[in-house]
Every structure is written in C-alpha cells, then in structure tokens.
C-alpha cells in the first residue's frame, strides 16, 4: 500500500521551551525521517518534522493529535504532503 510523506510544523507553547528536549520526546513517540529547526521571529523557532503515514490509514489527524498532546507543543500544522510510490 502506498505511503505518504508528511511534513509537520510544530510551534512551541512559548519561546522558552527547550526544543532539544521536545525533539527527543518526538523521536520517542513517532518514527521520524528528519527534524529540522525553522527560525520564525523574535527568537521563536518551529520544528519541522518529516514522517511517513500509510495512505490507506486516512489522514493525519491521529498523528497531529499525538504531537499536539506533547508537553510544550503550542500547535501542529501539516505544511506538506506527498505520496511515495
């Protein structure tokens, strides 16, 4: 079955959140392909997480909710999607 590469942008709850810790926590919860930092403004940084979900599994909602539930995460947004295969 086909898979979908999903890019999520995670905004921290505040500018004081330790992103290294958050990154480690994400890696424990889900299988990530890559995580990078995106500078936003006034010292704020977002995490860009690339991961893979099954096309048939239908949507990114469970993934979004799982990440949004992590302590320190303000909001989660899917900013990129592309089918693999």
């Amino acid at each position: 079955m086909a898979e979908v590469a999903v890019t999520l942008k995670l905004m921290p709850e505040s500018a004081d959140i330790d992103l290294d810790k958050l990154e480690a926590m994400i890696k424990e919860r889900i299988k990530v392909h890559s995580i990078s930092r995106e500078p936003i403004a006034f010292g704020l940084e977002a995490l860009r997480v690339v991961t893979v979900v099954e096309d048939a599994a239908g949507g990114t909602e469970p993934l979004e909710q799982e990440l949004a539930g992590l302590p320190g995460v303000g909001n989660v947004q899917v900013v990129g999607l592309t089918r693999l295969l």
Binding site: M1, A2, A15, D55, G59, V79, L84
Partner: protein, 420 residues
C-alpha cells in the same frame, strides 16, 4: 537570475501512472541513479511495474526508505523553472490538509489512463484542484501503449476530460496542453515518441514550461490568519502567521476579527530578520502594541480597519460530498476547517443539488445529499468566524468539512451575510 520555483501537484486516479510519469521524468533527467533502476529490474515482475516509480513496496530497508523520502522532496529543473512535485494522496481524509495549509500548488498535472478513462477519483481530484485555486493544468493521457497508440482514443478522451474540467468549474480547459504518453516506455515524456507521429505538440516535460508564475495578490486588502500568539519577554505580544493577501507594514494599524481588537504593528520579523513589510506567502511574526496575548487567538484574521476581514452571520457555499455513512440533511452541524480556524457550523438549508458531470442544477431544495453529490448550501456558524467569498479572497474561502474523524466534504464560500 535565479529561476522561479513552482509547486506542482499531480492528480488523478491512483492506478493511472502518476508515479511512473514522475519517476520516468526523474530518471531521464538523471535524478534517479542507474543502479536503483537495476534494483527494480532485479525484483522481477513487481519491480518492473514500479521500475520508474519513486519507491518500491518491497524494499523497506531503513536507509533506502530514507532515500526515497528525500527523493520525493527533490526539486527538478526545466529551461524556465525549478519544480517541486506534490503527489496527491489517494485517501479522502488528506483533503483537509490540502485545503488548510499544505503547500499551495501553483499548477497541476492531471493523469488519465487511456485504457481506463475517467474514474470517480479523476473527477474528485479535478474538482479539488479547482477548489484549491490551481488555475493551470497539463493533462497527460497515459498508457497509450495499451490502446495501440491510437489517435482517435486520445481525441475522444481529451474531449471527455475537457467536459469534466468545465463541469468542475474551469473556464477554458481547451487551452490546456493535452499530451498522449506512455510513461512506462517513455513515450512523449521527455522525448517525442516515434509511435505517435500524429501528435505534433510539445511533450510532457516541455509542456511544464508553458506554466506561468501565479501573480502574488499584493494589491488586495490585507488578510493574515493568525496561527499562534506569543508573549515574548522584552518584545510583547507576537502573533505568528502567513500573509495570504495584501501587504503588512511596520506602523500599520490592524484589526483582528472576530476578536474585534485593534493594535499597531511595531516590528515584523521573518526568519529572525527584521523586515519593514511582508507580502503574500511570507511566514512572519510581528509585534503588536495595544493588544494583550489573551485578546486574540489562533483562527483570528488580521486586516486593515478600512477593509476588515468579514465575520459571517451566514454564508452560501458550494460543496462536494466526499464520504458520509448516510446522508447530509438540513440541521447537520459538522466542523468546518478554514484557514487556521475550526468552527462547528449548521447546514441550515440545502439549496440546490448539482450534477457533478455538468455542474447544472438537477434539483431545488433536496431533502438530503450524499457521497458523490455536489450542492449549494446555506451555513450558519455556531460562533463568530471569518470567511471570505471565493470571488474576493479565494485563499480564505476554501474549507473542509469534518465529522466522525472523516473529511465529509470540501467546498468554497460563494456569498456571505456579514455579522456587522
């Protein structure tokens, strides 16, 4: 001068060869290594099928999987442009992502297999592309090898696709380039095919250069949906978001709707750099004076007080029902996802049912609509929300309707009764 960059979305039925077309293009342009292609060939029949696809199903080894994910995000270049390809997922639940934030597509490639013809997913994806505001298409009639490379098959299907595109809303689909191809064999992909001498127009790859860079809506009033609001020590209140239309400048007075508060822009930053103004597509944070962090929230839209964002008391929309276990009737209250907001809205009236094949009205005030139907509906938000008319701000008119963990429908707002 650097070449402009365009996002391309590939759409069409899953088995019609979208990946093969992209894989073949990557291969002929030297983006896929010869040794990878040999690996596919070594896999026997299955490998051959996917020879030019980006990934193979059987190879789950971590390192190779990583490569395929990187490959999926690779840019390729033509004479005029850099392109990134977004291959639209098959499952309907991803429609929400495409509507509310996944990278905006500038152009689309619609793939239809010559032997199969138009399938429900072909129609659905074409409608989605129109809803997303993708105004330019290249249509590839693929798998021409399976119909003997016959011109009459191509011509017949081309006219059927033109009718379909008209039905979903495209004005002059005759102007789009239609390419007969056999992506698996490479016919008319990058090089002209000697099996279809009757076709004299451009091949697929060259057709990509017929696209134009969509103009940025800088001349429109400002619309900036708020993604998040921060209170930063030493700075103050900082909303973060992407400019959809218009220009935001330092010194501007802004109004946030539906919060109804105003403040002054003290500074704007993008990628941590201070900038005097920002334009459509820019992801920014800005310091706003006179507004407490708690007074605004995600889903509010910033604009200038002389043409503020529209708060809807009621709106009229055109929707396509993607999936629903039973039927949609008046009184139904699912969640509408539009720009950065999510609001439960009641469908107060189903005004007209439309023929998905022609877009014509087939029934006035139907009792219900179900999967596969298109309709115009009236909608009443359960709390104040900003939405705009497609004719004025297409970027803020699109929405996905969700309920029961599913994307039920996709649509655009076509008329509004403002709340004030």
């Amino acid at each position: 001068m650097a070449k402009p960059h365009l996002n391309l979305i590939t759409i069409g039925h899953v088995d019609h060869g979208k990946s093969t077309l992209v894989g073949r293009t990557f291969y002929e342009k030297g983006l896929v290594k010869e040794e990878d292609i040999r690996k596919f060939e070594a896999m026997g029949d299955k490998g051959k099928t996917f020879k030019f696809a980006w990934v193979m199903d059987g190879l789950k080894e971590e390192r190779e999987r990583g490569l395929t994910i990187d490959l999926a995000h690779k840019k390729f270049e033509t004479d005029k442009y850099y392109f990134t390809i977004i291959d639209a997922p098959g499952h309907r639940d991803f429609v929400k992502n495409m509507i509310t934030g996944a990278s905006q597509a500038d152009a689309a490639i619609l793939v239809v297999a010559a032997d199969d013809g138009i399938m429900p997913q072909t129609r659905e994806h074409a409608a989605l592309a129109f809803t997303l505001g993708v105004g330019q298409l290249v249509v590839v009639i693929n798998k021409m090898d399976l119909v003997g490379y016959k011109e009459d098959v191509f011509k017949k299907l081309k006219s059927e696709v033109i009718d379909l595109l008209k039905a979903v809303g495209y004005k002059n689909p005759e102007k789009f380039t239609f390419v007969p191809a056999a992506a698996f064999h490479g016919d008319n992909v990058v090089k002209p095919s000697d099996k279809m001498k009757w076709y004299t127009e451009t091949v697929f790859f060259a057709a990509l250069d017929s696209f134009t860079v969509p103009e940025k809506p800088t001349g429109k009033p400002l619309r900036l949906p708020v993604q998040d609001v921060y209170s930063i020590t030493g700075v103050g209140t900082v909303p973060v978001g992407r400019v959809e239309t218009g220009i935001i400048k330092v010194g501007d007075t802004l109004v946030f709707e539906p919060a109804g508060v105003t403040g002054e822009v003290k500074s704007i930053e993008m990628h941590h750099e201070s900038i005097p103004q920002a334009e459509p597509g820019d992801n920014i944070g800005f310091n706003i004076r006179g507004v407490e962090k708690t007074a605004i929230r995600r889903g509010d839209v910033a604009g200038h007080p002389k043409s503020p964002p529209t708060v809807a008391k009621e709106f009229t929309a055109r929707i396509a029902v993607l999936q629903h276990p039973t039927a949609l009737t008046a009184g139904y209250t699912p969640v509408f996802h539009t720009h950065t907001t999510q609001v439960a809205c009641t469908i107060s009236e189903i005004t007209q049912k439309l023929d998905p094949k022609s877009g014509q009205v087939i029934q006035e005030k139907p009792e219900f609509i179900k999967k596969g139907d298109m309709a115009t509906i009236k909608v009443i938000p359960t709390k104040p929300m900003v939405i705009e008319k497609a004719a004025e701000f297409p970027q803020l008119s699109r929405f996905a309707v969700r309920d029961m963990g599913m994307t039920i429908a996709a649509g655009v707002c076509i008329d509004i009764v403002p709340a004030k």
